[in-house]
């Protein structure tokens, strides 16, 4: 085996390298990795805390805007969340206090997004052909004289 000395020298270098890699890896693996599966368990908590919820649902508006909430509850838009036509609550309220005005969109496109007659919508859903439904030219606010957005008839 004296003539294989160089082979053992090489093998030694290899063992050193592998040991260094194994040690290095052990130091670098994140602590929570592998607890529940092949992933970093800490991320579950991070995802749950990634941001504060922004949408709060129509019930959260009723506290300050009772008039509109009651009109809505009694009309045909009772299933339409306030946040669809306005914006998520977080735009308007933060930490219990008003931080900015809630956007109010008076354009006809907002109403048309749901109520314009197009292929795909269920037959029974209230939808209209815009040119035939509106007597005037299509412009901002053209739906409002006849329809209260919080309780449109019928």
């Amino acid at each position: 085996m004296e003539h294989a000395r160089h082979v053992f020298r090489v093998l030694l270098v290899l063992v050193v390298a592998v040991a260094a890699f194994v040690l290095g890896r052990a130091l670098l693996v994140p602590k929570s990795y592998g607890l529940y599966g092949a992933y970093r368990a800490d991320n579950v908590g991070e995802q749950a805390r990634v941001r504060e919820p922004r949408h709060a649902g129509p019930e959260s508006c009723a506290g300050c805007h009772a008039k509109q909430a009651q009109a809505r509850a009694a009309g045909s838009h009772k299933a339409v969340s306030c946040e669809i036509c306005h914006a998520p609550l977080s735009v308007h309220v933060q930490g219990g206090a008003v931080k900015a005005k809630m956007p109010v969109d008076r354009s006809y496109q907002l109403c048309a997004r749901c109520h314009r007659k197009i292929a795909g919508r269920p037959e029974k859903f209230p939808q209209v052909v815009l040119d035939q439904h509106v007597p005037a030219a299509l412009e901002e606010g053209v739906c409002l004289p006849c329809h209260d957005p919080h309780s449109p008839k019928p």
Binding site: F8, L23, Y39, A119, G120
Partner: protein
């Protein structure tokens, strides 16, 4: 270890010296590594049934599922807008979107203008349509995920309560999961350069809220539920009614179930 400093023709040391040296050094190193590793591993271990979330939410008590009734969808796009607002989804990419199908005897036409975020224009199809409908789509949160299977670094995973998510601190942005998803629900975020997709608003559902898309849907098309709750309406639908899933032949076991799914939908 004896070291040769002067090169000479064919000089060698006594027969066993090389092998003995190697074995000594090797065993020392290997032993050290083993001791270090076992101590490191012991420090990090913990009971597998523990709950990684604080504040009273136990992920072992929930198993979420989603039902979509395509007969009710009006294609208003409110869900897409709400998702974008809730999750800062970058423009041009979609965590959820809506597809419109216009079907006639000669063929079918499908469109999804900007994912449906501004609703849909009148369809220019040239097809004599006999039926048309909308189909909302998002990550299916499959039980047998092809995306988690292919993530090389374990950044993609499925939680105990059934939600598939991406650890954006581990993700290396290789894009393999994006290629592997049969539903096209993943994308690479152009700012963070990591994979991203619908998380069923994990930051909301762990607080008892519903995902933003479900919260705003005006027609009750989207329903979110918990298979571990006794009288959950979504659970009842899945267990008792005729529900369909997308691309069943791939056996991904999606947890988004569709009512009134048409054969045209892939």
């Amino acid at each position: 270890m004896s070291e040769e400093t002067r090169p000479a023709e064919g000089e060698t040391a006594p027969c066993d010296a090389g092998r003995r040296d190697f074995l000594e050094q090797g065993i020392r190193l290997a032993g050290g590594a083993v001791v270090f590793l076992t101590s490191a591993r012991a420090a990090a271990s913990s009971a597998p049934s523990e709950n990684p979330l604080s504040g009273g939410y136990d992920w072992n008590e929930h198993r979420y599922a989603y039902v979509i009734d395509t007969e009710k969808c009006i294609g208003c796009g409110s869900c897409v807008r709400a998702c974008r607002a809730e999750n800062d989804v970058p423009a041009g990419f979609y965590r959820t979107w809506i597809e419109r199908y216009v079907v006639g005897p000669e063929g079918s036409f499908v469109d999804s203008p900007s994912g449906g975020i501004d609703g849909f224009p009148p369809a220019q199809t040239g097809i004599a349509a006999t039926k048309s409908f909308f189909v909302p789509k998002m990550c299916m949160h499959c039980k047998s995920t092809p995306c988690v299977q292919v993530c090389p670094v374990g950044a993609s995973y499925r939680t105990r309560d059934g939600v598939v998510m991406v650890d954006d601190k581990s993700c290396i942005g290789c894009g393999y999961c994006v290629q592997a998803c049969p539903y096209g629900s993943r994308f690479l975020n152009p700012t963070t350069h990591t994979a991203e997709k619908c998380t069923w608003c994990y930051h909301r559902i762990t607080k008892g809220l519903r995902p933003a898309c479900v919260e705003v849907c005006p027609t009750g098309t989207r329903m979110f539920g918990d298979m571990k709750k006794e009288d959950d309406p979504v659970r009842k639908i899945i267990e008792r009614e005729r529900v369909g899933i997308l691309q069943p032949h791939l056996l991904t076991e999606p947890q988004c179930f569709y009512l009134h799914l048409d054969k045209e939908v892939r």
